[in-house]
């Protein structure tokens, strides 16, 4: 590996890490909330809402992510312009976060739904029997147990989202891979494989850390359960 390349490119790549983390964290936080709401509708009894959400989820789960990013990037400003809201000047990263949040919400919803259906219904009855109200029951019984069942699937989703931040540069939102591509093209392709290799290593380390975090969280959740 040419050392001058390491000295000139690595600091720049590392400077992009916060942006990449933002493009991962913001959609994750939004999707956890929105995905939970969607999930409540999907396991609920309200027919009209149920079908509306189902169509929404099918669309986002059934079309390529990059198509959704394009549609949000080009379409959302036009849609809002009809009601005289001008978001044309927003940075590309904002569109990426919106598109990824919507997409991820649908996947989170389905994972949580699976988790919820996996929770023993007796647990919910038990909660009611000791006098928990609806909200108390949700936060103390349903949510923790649903999360515990879902956590491994959520981990897979989050790792995917972290890796998928690498398509943000296609609409001009700069992150690790976008920066790598820019440097490569500015040097007419010199050192292409080295630079991409560096980017890959950075992604790998970030994913490994995420994996560790989730593993720790899932052990924490199982602390009251039986250890096999």
């Amino acid at each position: 590996m040419p050392t001058d390349l390491l000295q000139s490119v690595l600091p720049g790549l590392l400077r992009q890490v916060p942006t990449t983390l933002l493009y991962w964290f913001a959609p994750s936080a939004i999707a956890l909330l929105l995905g939970t709401l969607l999930c409540i509708v999907r396991v609920g009894k309200h027919r009209a809402l149920y079908w509306a959400c189902t169509v929404f989820i099918s669309f986002f789960r059934g079309t390529p992510g990059i198509v959704q990013i394009y549609i949000i990037f080009f379409g959302l400003p036009k849609l809002l312009w009809i009601v005289h809201v001008d978001i044309d000047g927003w940075p590309a990263g904002a569109y990426f976060i919106i598109a990824t949040s919507l997409n991820l919400s649908c996947f989170v919803c389905e994972v949580l739904k699976g988790g919820y259906l996996g929770v023993d219904h007796g647990q919910i009855e038990a909660g009611k029997s000791i006098g928990f109200g609806r909200f108390q029951n949700f936060f103390r019984v349903i949510a923790p147990q649903t999360l515990q069942v879902s956590i491994l699937n959520l981990k897979n989703l989050e790792i995917d989202v972290l890796k998928d931040t690498s398509v943000a540069y296609t609409i001009g939102a700069m992150e690790i891979l976008g920066y790598a591509n820019r440097v490569i093209s500015n040097q007419f392709g010199v050192g292409q494989l080295w630079i991409l290799g560096l980017a890959a290593i950075i992604y790998f380390i970030l994913c490994a850390l995420l994996e560790l975090g989730f593993t720790a969280a899932s052990h924490h959740m199982e602390r009251h359960g039986r250890r096999s």
């Binding site: 720049g12 390529p64 990059i66 198509v67 394009y70 549609i71 990037f73 080009f74 379409g75 400003p77 036009k78 849609l79 312009w81 009809i82 001008d86 044309d88 540069y169 296609t170 609409i171 001009g172 700069m174 920066y179 591509n181 820019r182 440097v183 490569i184 093209s185 500015n186 040097q187 007419f188 392709g189 010199v190 292409q192």
Partner: protein
Amino acid sequence: MKKRIVAAIASVLVIGSLSACGSGSAQGNTNSGGVKTIKIALESQDPPYSYADNNGKPAGFDLAVLKELDKKLPQYSFEYSVQDYETALVGVKQGKYDALIGAFFKTKARAEQYLLSTPYNYYFMNLIVPEGSPINSLKDMNGKTLDPIVPTDGRYLAIHDWLKRNPKVKITVPEVSNQSTFQDMFNSVHDGTYDAVYLSKAQYEGVASTLGYKMKVTGIVDGAGTVVLYNKEQKDLQGAIDKQIDSLISDGTLPKLTQKWFKQDNFALAKKLDVFQS
């Protein structure tokens, strides 16, 4: 390459779904002075013509041309953003950007989808061949093979135009879906896989020092004008800019700019090669 196909699908979807909204995107942000803001996209990966520097700021010869034009057009104020190739093309087509620049050649397909300016610069092609090779022109390439070119590349259109004009010369132009780096192109000619790289001298010089061997650059074999692409609605802008391009060429501003960037007067060269258009 998968990304290209997906981008194409995306463009179709986006444009399809948005043409329904009408072209209400001409959000002419006219501020108090009556100056209209024009959103211009610059292609992000085409140095030295148009690219993002390592801080993400637009840079290159094409930007320098735009800045000269902006000075001459008090009724407009240009706003620049650097954008990925496909995204920029879709963005201009459906009106997110008003214009796009980045060493684009004039082609039939582009003329159908965009408004095009008159050429603001000329792009000259050379052949890069092994040292001591007898090849000096495209005619010498008869029966030989060029290094592969992506069909969406301007060079692909340029070589096929030339072959149409010179039907006696048969050159094989392999197609690839993903352009290799300049280094790899020169390597594959150096080791004899292909006979020549069809590229500009400036692009060879950009990597010459990293190759570890010398190549021969022939004289100029072909040239073509590069144009601004406008959204179809931008007739007024097209007219205004075209007028200024002509005057910047005749008053020597643009020829001076090409001297500074490419060490040669591209307009005089274009006239000599008989590819000049105004």
